[in-house]
Amino acid sequence: MKRTAQQLLALGLLALAGAAQAEVTAITGATVHTLGPAGTLTNATVLVRDGVIEAVGVEVPVPAEATVLDANGQVLTPGLLAPISNIGLVEVSGVGSTNDQRLKDTPVGPAFSVRHGVNRFSVLFGVARTGGVTRALAAPEPGPDVFAGQGSVIRLDGAPASVTAPDRVLVAALGERGADRAGGSRARALQSLLQGFAEAQRYGRSNELSRRGLASGLSLPYYDLEALERALSEKQPLWVHVDRAADIEALLAATETLPLPLVIVGGAEAWRVAPALAAREVPVVLDPLGNLPESFDRLGARLDNATLLHEAGVTVAFTELVGHEVRELRQYAGNAVAQGLPWEVALAAITRVPAALWGEGDRLGQIAPGYRADLVLWTGDPLELTSWARWTMIEGQRFDPGSRQLQLRDRYRNPAQRVLPPGG
């Protein structure tokens, strides 16, 4: 396709306009929890240029063109990150037609990618932002296969390119959940997982010509084999839903030679095998409120799981949440602190650590030069439930509290009036 001169000129002007209107914002007078080497700074300035953090410090000069946001001593943190969720994939949980997180009976396992189902116009995004959450891993829920599929990192600002890191992690389920998907035995679930990788390795070693013949003799279809092959060659993180300590041990033993980094999701009994997890450097995305022995996989569940793991040298992140509840991340972190986890470690578990587990640790989860300007200004301690987010910034764009919920609130501030005010 040929571009006309006029079009080229227009493009050039747009580029110039972009350069001329560099968006510069300075947040001044903030107590900044950088989550990076700079630690916590008081009365600090964060300079944001074109959606990226340019400088952080107590003596950062504020350029004349900067829009200044005076924090008045309030607390600035990185945007909160939901390490694994279905936000963007589910609008109303009980309405099946709005749920694109899981397959019912279609035989697609590792190749199932949710990235094409993300709805950037979801009303859940505004609710999440109002709660200080800026990004999430939109992940598939285990369906008919032990492999749930591919999870993608998404941003919650509603911008067109909401999927920022497609197919970043491979999700699977073992234990009770896996057993349901593998003929009824958890032993077979782990076998299926290993078998998938073994077949993918054979498939990957074969040449194009022999692949067709080979594939017919393997248990997985070619698309799933290719997804697993890619996982192996790219060392894609393998996130495994598993709670029971014995199942975690079996997983660790069976995957010693598997070249993928493992992440445990759930891990209700992970504290029981903390040294083994520490030795293998396997992080755990856990639920610090999950102390109910609600299944036989979770009889050992306890509130101080995170503390015990941290003390053993295991990295922890919080937590798997449905999209509607991602704003509760800070409650999970706060409760972990009440159970003995250091405050900074708890805040990292909902910021820096999820970013690292997504392979985005060099651009998300910290307030440091070169990082995306995902920031939240809080009225107080962000882990206290009586605090709230004054505003949330995603890649430099500031969002005041705003959601369909807040519009409903404002409409019914005076419910007795006969004619309801219009929405915003």
Binding site: E91, V92, S93, G94, V95, L124, V127, L289, G290, N291, L292, P293, E294, S295, F296, R298, L299, G300, A301, R302, L303, D304, T307, V322, G323, H324, E325, R327, E328, Q331, G334, N335, V337, A338, Q339, G340, L383, E384, L385, T386, S387, W388, P401, Q405, L406, L408, R409, Y412, R413, P415, A416
Partner: protein, 475 residues
């Protein structure tokens, strides 16, 4: 205006006891007016009645704490004295009786025991396996004949976890599969061999009703009624028509001395509602449906005590205030089905603003452990919109208002002198995420104390398979 006929005790039964002379105790007596015509053999406690007996307790004086009395008031540097299971006084510089246990409350907060008006503990115990699924008699849309207490497994390991969250009283309700789900029961959160040993003495029974999606989904999928919201409403009305007829027969028999109608568990429960003895706790999300339920209550002349979940209560907060109907509400649950899609974080705040009775409830074995935190979220939402609410007021959502909805506000729910000494000592402000219940007294007896040398109930189920102190803070 509601007119309730006082229900006359059954003359026939009295006659029988008279014949049984000279037995030292009545050989036959009527167990419970709501079970019309019941003839019960032998001595001992009435069948299914509370056999809760408070553990022995002495005097306890908590000194120099921040006290939230549960009635909306607060006392700084306050003392709380209780003795023989009852609150004696809240004040400053109270004198300790000679043999009182003195507890240093410096830096700590004291509140009444938390009351959860919506729980399924014991009916849906952990582990949540099918063999334990005892909360919904989803075999017919109207099952007023079932009683939630008859499903309660006292060894549910969730009970002690709720205790560690400061919950001293809880109402166990049937689930919401049915239009009329059955009777609920109010329990003291104490270790017991039987549900009767937990039953809150003198607490009225409740009746669980459910609006909306759940009943119509459960039965509609079976191609039986109800399958629509209009089907739901027809179902309620048909039940009340039968109940009215049954009550008329009871009244006529009482008047004339003639034979009572045959016993009918279903109608005994419904008639108990019409007589005002059984309180309606109505699962209902949408504002428009709640307004229809209020019309049904007018048609059949009964009272709805509380709407539960009521995620749209804020849309009709003025009406609920006017009608005196409580809202038992979540702080922030939303979006899990269509009828919860308009839930907002300010639901409780807007109910309070309208002068309605707002209650924070759990309906969850998880959240019952942290109802104080749910109230903190509601307080945040209130303050974010500029309402000047404080901790003292918010504590009412967890205690006094809840007690009112259970019909036990003259026994617990505040720290007023003479009430049950159901008391929680918190490590700090209970609206802080970092605070934990350190000690919990029920009727003046210490049932939970945090710490390595602490005291925590352990259920049979917990033995040898769950970690001790799974719910405990490490402070």
């Amino acid at each position: 205006m509601r007119i309730l006929k006082p229900w006359v005790p059954l003359l026939g039964v009295w006659a029988l006891t008279a014949v049984a002379e000279p037995a030292p105790a009545p050989a036959y007596y009527e167990a419970d007016p709501s079970r019309a015509g019941a003839l019960v053999r032998g001595e001992g406690p009435l069948p299914y009645s509370s056999r809760y007996a408070p553990e022995p307790s002495g005097a306890v004086l908590i000194e120099n704490a921040t006290v939230l009395l549960g009635d909306g008031t607060r006392l700084d540097e306050g003392d709380v004295l209780f003795d023989a299971g009852r609150i004696v006084a809240v004040g400053q510089d109270l004198a300790a009786p000679a043999e009182a246990t003195v507890v240093d409350g410096t830096g700590r907060w004291v509140t009444p025991g938390i009351i959860d008006v919506h729980s399924h503990l014991g009916d849906y115990p952990s582990p949540g396996v099918e063999a334990h699924s005892d909360g919904n008699e989803a075999t017919a849309p109207v099952t007023a004949r079932v009683w939630a207490e008859h499903s309660v497994w006292p060894q549910d390991p969730q009970f002690p976890l709720a205790l560690m969250g400061g919950v001293t009283t809880l109402q166990i309700l049937p689930g919401s599969a049915n239009l009329v789900g059955g009777r609920g029961v109010t329990l003291k959160n104490v270790p017991a061999r039987s549900v009767m040993d937990m039953k809150f003495p003198g607490a009225p029974h409740s009746l669980k009703m459910a609006c909306g999606e759940n009943p119509k989904r459960v039965y509609g999928r079976r191609r039986s009624a109800p399958s629509t919201r209009m089907g739901n409403v027809a179902g309620y009305r048909e039940s009340w028509i039968k109940a009215r007829a049954y009550q008329a027969k009871l009244d006529a028999a009482a008047e004339s001395g003639e034979d009572l109608p045959d016993r009918d568990l279903e109608l005994e429960t419904l008639a108990g509602v019409l007589r005002g003895e059984i309180l309606i706790h109505n699962h209902c999300y949408r504002a428009d449906e709640m307004l229809i339920m209020l019309d049904i209550a007018r048609e059949f002349d009964y009272k709805i005590t509380a709407f539960h979940h009521a995620t749209e209560a804020y849309k009709i907060a003025d009406v609920l205030a006017e009608e005196g109907v409580c809202g038992a509400l979540w702080a922030d649950w939303w979006g899990f089905k269509m009828e919860s899609n308009d839930a907002i974080e300010e639901n409780i705040a807007l109910m309070e603003q309208a002068g309605a009775c707002a209650i924070v409830h759990s309906d969850s074995a998880r959240d019952i452990q942290r109802l104080n935190q749910e109230a903190a979220k509601a307080l945040m939402a209130a303050r974010r919109m500029g309402l000047p609410y404080d901790e003292a007021l918010a504590m009412r959502w967890l205690t006094q208002n809840a007690a009112k909805a259970l019909g036990i506000e003259d026994q617990t729910g505040t720290l007023a002198p003479g009430l049950m000494a159901d008391v929680v000592l918190w490590s700090g402000n209970p609206f802080s995420v970092y605070s934990r219940a350190e000690r919990v007294w029920i009727d003046g007896h210490l049932h939970y104390a945090a710490g390595p040398d602490g005291l925590r109930p352990t259920t049979d189920f917990d033995l040898a398979q769950t970690p001790a102190g799974r719910g405990e803070a490490r402070q």
